[in-house]
Structure formats: structure tokens, C-alpha cells
């Protein structure tokens, strides 16, 4: 198995802030790989380094076998990028945006024309090809950007938050579309996201990144299995009592959350829920609410960081602002 991307101890600092902290992993050829984490966790910084837009402070990486430090042009030719923020020329038509890109990547005019035709067909924008991008909806713009990213047949496609700000229907559509791309074209796709569901649905493997560090890396199924079965959340006025009463062998994990909720992991929760309620009742512990669900990546994130991704984002945003300030210098 050859690797599309190899990352060795990659680190990026902005003054005192360590945006990406000594990360190492490999991405296989042809896989859809997800970088999952809250805003400000270092996902975009990692992508910026892999796409040679930003120099690493230390460490190294190769993309498609080419070194990101010594062979910038080689890397740039091997990759397509869809940035987090829109990067189309709104005054130009869909076709012209594609054509500009094709010329920048020095595609011959007949190859260029043929591929633009194909790709616009693929993203279902063919009948809008001569319309100015200004008139396009968010989803259409996203699809056009993906088509553009594929125009020079990159070995690796980076998608930075590809469905951010899109409505659920468009998001679903785009997911199907990305999965199809990977299957039919064998292209390696690396996407960053802070949507758990997106990572779960799309990715062969997911790296969970928080505060610049990789805290877990595996298939979504393995990650979810790793937390020990189903998840039961109990809300009670006395969480400590809940924890002490439920110290029983068939519960693989029990944790008191910062907000007074108690999270329990166990196999076959449906069968045990009545026992749990009985145990708590017999000890005169009030239950405000109880819920059972199959584990999600959100639970995985919670089990690794002790926080939900939304709370992490509150921290992360402060980092982001600092990071953006530094990028401006």
C-alpha cells in the first residue's frame, strides 16, 4: 500500500500559540480521510501546510511522494483544494472560472474544454455554465469549486469544511457526490469538518484533532466501538450519588460530566435501562431525565476530551482569532 500523504512530526507555531503540535500519520491512496475537530483545533493550519501555503515550524510531510518543503510546485500540481471560504470570481461565469483554473494549471485547450464539459456535467451545472457566478446559490458555488479542484486531475483533493453553511439537503447531496468521486475516480480525499455526522458518513478513517494534537485516529466504527457500547445519559440533581450507585460490573464506563450529567457506556443498554432506573429508585436518587443512544463520534470526542465539540469551539474561537491576527502580519 502506498501512502498519498505522510506526515512526520509536523508542527506549526504562531508566536506562543502552537496551532499544530507534533502530528504524525499516514493517509492511504484512495481513501477518504477526515480531520475532525472544533474550529481552531488546527485543521485548516494542517491543510495550509500540506498545500504549501504555509511553512511548517518543524517536521516534514510528503504529498503524493513529494516533499512539501523542497518541492512546492510538485505538491501544488498534485493537489486540488476547495477552501473553507469561497474563492470563485463572482464576476465571471462558471465556465470562465473553470477555464481560468485550467489555464493556470497549463492544460492544453482541447483537454481543458473537454474536462470542463465533463466536470460541469458531473456537478450538474452544465445548463448554468454561462451564468455569472454571482447568481449562484451556496450549494452551486460549492459544487463548482469542487469541479474546479478536480480539473487538473489531482492525486489528492483537499476539502476544507466542504459543507459549512449549506442547508441539510444540499449537504446530503454533496456527501453523496464526494463519496461517488472517491469510488469512481479513486482520488484520495482529505476533508476537514467539525460536523461529526459528516465524518461518520463519509470517511474511511477519521483523525480527531484538538488543540493541535491528534487525540484519536481510526475508522469511525472502531472509534465508536472503543467507547464500550451504547451510551446512556442520566440527568439528576445528585450526579455523584448516581455514579457511586452505578459502580456495577456490567457498566464499562461511567463519567460525571461538567454540567451534572452522568454518561454511562455499556453493552445492550436497552436491556439494562430498567435495572438502572430500579437501582437509582431504590437508593432514593431522583432522575430528571434518561436517554439512550448508539454511540456517535460526538461521544468519542467527549470521551477523549471531556468536553463536547461545541464547548471546545468556545475555546477554539479565541485561538482562531489569535491565529488570524498572526496570519495578517
Amino acid at each position: 500500500m502506498t501512502f498519498a500523504i505522510q506526515i512526520n512530526h509536523l508542527t506549526r507555531k504562531f508566536n506562543d500559540l502552537v496551532a499544530v503540535n507534533d502530528i504524525s500519520f499516514e493517509i492511504n491512496e484512495g481513501e477518504i480521510f477526515g480531520l475532525l475537530g472544533p474550529n481552531g483545533a488546527g485543521k485548516t493550519t494542517t491543510l495550509a501546510m500540506l498545500s504549501t501555503m504555509l511553512k511548517p515550524t518543524s517536521g516534514s510531510a510528503t504529498v503524493n511522494g513529494m516533499d512539501i518543503k523542497n518541492n512546492e510546485d510538485g505538491v501544488r500540481k498534485s493537489i486540488g483544494i476547495v477552501f473553507q471560504d469561497q474563492s470563485l470570481d463572482e464576476e465571471l461565469t462558471a465556465w470562465e472560472n473553470m477555464d481560468f483554473h485550467g489555464r493556470l494549471y497549463r492544460l492544453q485547450s482541447d483537454v481543458r474544454r473537454q474536462r470542463i464539459e465533463e466536470l460541469l456535467e458531473l456537478v450538474e451545472l452544465k445548463d448554468r455554465k454561462d451564468d455569472i457566478v454571482k447568481t449562484f446559490s451556496g450549494g452551486m458555488r460549492r459544487r463548482l469549486e469542487i469541479a474546479r479542484g478536480l480539473l487538473h486531475h489531482p492525486a489528492v483533493l483537499f476539502l476544507d469544511e466542504p459543507t459549512l453553511g449549506l442547508d441539510p439537503q444540499t449537504r446530503n447531496h454533496l456527501w453523496q457526490y464526494i463519496a461517488k468521486l472517491s469510488k469512481e475516480h479513486g482520488i484520495t480525499i482529505i476533508l476537514t469538518t467539525h460536523y461529526m455526522e459528516e465524518a461518520d458518513r463519509l470517511c474511511n478513517r477519521v483523525a480527531i484533532i484538538d488543540h493541535g494534537k491528534i487525540i484519536a485516529l481510526d475508522t469511525p466504527a472502531n472509534l465508536k466501538d472503543g467507547i464500550g457500547g451504547d451510551v446512556v445519559n442520566i440527568r439528576s440533581p445528585d450526579p455523584s450519588a448516581v455514579v457511586s450507585v452505578l459502580e456495577v460490573p456490567w457498566i464499562s464506563r461511567i463519567e460525571k460530566q461538567y454540567d451534572g450529567q452522568v454518561t454511562i457506556s455499556l453493552q445492550n443498554a436497552e436491556q439494562h435501562v430498567s435495572t438502572i432506573v430500579m437501582l437509582l429508585n431504590s437508593n432514593q436518587i431522583a432522575i430528571e431525565s434518561i436517554s439512550i443512544h448508539k454511540p456517535t463520534l460526538e461521544d468519542v470526542f467527549l470521551s477523549f476530551t471531556g468536553k463536547t465539540i461545541r464547548e471546545e469551539e468556545a475555546d477554539g474561537k479565541a485561538n482562531m482569532r489569535m491565529y488570524q491576527k498572526m496570519m495578517r502580519r
Binding site: 495550509a48 498545500s51 504549501t52 501555503m53 504555509l54 512546492e72 510546485d73 501544488r76 500540481k77 483544494i81 477552501f83 471560504d85 469561497q86 474563492s87 470563485l88 470570481d89 463572482e90 464576476e91 465571471l92 470562465e96 481560468f100 483554473h101 489555464r103 493556470l104 494549471y105 497549463r106 455569472i132 474546479r148 496570519m327 495578517r328 502580519r329
Partner: protein, 249 residues
């Protein structure tokens, strides 16, 4: 070369579509020509230049139109930065120099066209056309002003974060460059202590060069004009290219 052409092509497409911008930037020099030109024509006699004031003013207005359009075109890369399009260009396997040169040639071309429009309108306002060679000389100077000041705009834009500083640049840099250039009045009529400042203004040589081409008379030798403006163009291109390389993607 093909990359420069690609970026130039984009500038042209955007230019042709921005009708309001075309009309907007023609209107100011045109109003100057109409109001100042006809208003002062009977009052003002330009010593030693023979012709009437409007003939004197036309080369200045052509230069003005090229100047403003080119600086604006250069500074426009801030829009590209803000709307994210610049990233698309910067991450492509092309050199920054090619991108910058493409932007410069594109901006200069739009500026040149804007100047041409004023020039053509001037023929109806009484420009007594000299000869073909004269026009060609004027075109050459217009092109140089366009290149120099687009590069100048790119240099400024490379150091600016957003368009908030734009008005400041226009008022405190571009307008003085225009005002001191001898576009509106002959430099010889200025008080002696201002003359050296006008001679430091690169646009002075552009205006004088165009004036020589269109009217056959100028206060500065056209060859000197060519050397100074040419040198300034090379310098701003280098500075612009250097600063453009420092833009963080």
C-alpha cells in the same frame, strides 16, 4: 507568458462587464475637460504654448484618466484577497512574479483603454490632431503611466489589509501626484519653490510626454520624459513584484 495572458484575460473580462466603472471613471476627466476647459478657455492664456487652454488641458486629462484607473486596478487585488479569489491563484503551481506581471499588464490595459476613450472624446472637443507619430508617442507614454501606476497600486495593496485605507491613498497620494503633475497648469507658472517638487512627481513626465505627442510642444524634453518615466516604471514593477511576494496566502 501564458500565465500572464490568463490573468490579463480575466482582467479584460471583468473590465468589459463593469459598465458602471467604465462610465464612472470617464466622467471625472470629462467633466474637468468640459467645465475647466470651456470655462477657462477664454480667460486663460498659456504663455509660450501657443494654443488655447483646452488644448493644454487635454493631455493632462488623458494622463489623469490613465493614472486613476491604473492605481485603482492595482489596488483591486485587495478585493481578490477579501473575496478569496487570490488564494486560488496563489496556490496554483505558478510563480508570484507571473501573477503580479499579469495583474500589472491587465490593469495597465484597462487604464490605457480609459485614456483612449478620453483621447477620442477630446477630438470632438477641439483637439487638433497632430500626426500619426505624435499619437503613437502619446500612446507610449499612456502605456508607461498605466504600467507604472498599476504596479504602484499593487505595491500598496500588498501592504493593505482591506479597502478602508483606499480613500486615504487616493486623497493623500494619488491626488497630489495628479495635482503636482502640470496636468492643469504649466509647471513654469508655479512659484519657484514648488517647481522642484513637480519635477519629483513621475506623472509630470508622463503628462509632458503625452503633451508633446498630442500638441508638439512640451516644457520638458520628451526624451528626458521617456527616461524618467521608464525608470519609474521599472522601479515600481520591481517594488510591486517584491511586495506581492510577501503577501501571506
Amino acid at each position: 507568458m501564458d500565465i500572464i495572458y490568463t490573468i490579463w484575460l480575466r482582467s479584460m473580462k471583468r473590465y468589459i462587464r463593469s459598465k458602471s466603472r467604465i462610465i464612472g471613471s470617464i466622467s471625472m476627466p470629462l467633466f474637468f475637460l468640459l467645465f475647466l476647459g470651456f470655462g477657462l478657455n477664454s480667460v486663460v492664456q498659456i504663455p509660450g504654448m501657443g494654443g488655447d487652454y483646452i488644448t493644454f488641458l487635454i493631455p493632462g486629462m488623458v494622463a489623469m484618466s490613465v493614472l486613476f484607473t491604473s492605481v485603482f486596478s492595482g489596488i483591486q487585488i485587495i478585493w481578490d484577497k477579501q473575496f478569496g479569489f487570490l488564494k486560488e491563484t496563489l496556490v496554483a503551481p505558478v510563480s508570484r512574479l507571473e501573477i503580479m506581471l499579469g495583474q500589472t499588464v491587465g490593469g495597465a490595459t484597462t487604464a490605457f483603454i480609459q485614456g483612449m476613450i478620453i483621447l477620442i472624446l477630446s477630438i470632438f472637443l477641439g483637439l487638433k490632431s497632430g500626426n500619426v507619430l505624435g499619437f503613437l508617442i502619446a500612446f507610449g507614454f499612456m502605456a508607461l503611466i498605466g504600467l507604472a501606476f498599476t504596479a504602484f497600486g499593487i505595491a500598496i495593496a500588498s501592504k493593505m489589509e482591506d479597502m478602508t485605507g483606499f480613500q486615504l491613498i487616493m486623497n493623500f497620494v494619488v491626488f497630489p501626484i495628479f495635482g503636482l503633475s502640470g496636468a492643469l497648469f504649466p509647471i513654469s507658472s508655479l512659484p519657484p519653490f514648488i517647481v522642484p517638487i513637480t519635477l519629483l512627481d513621475p506623472l509630470t513626465y508622463g503628462v509632458e510626454g503625452i503633451r508633446y505627442g498630442l500638441t508638439g510642444v512640451s516644457q520638458i524634453n520628451p526624451l528626458i520624459c521617456l527616461v524618467v518615466l521608464g525608470g519609474f516604471t521599472v522601479a515600481t514593477t520591481f517594488i510591486g513584484a517584491y511586495l506581492f511576494r510577501t503577501i501571506k496566502s
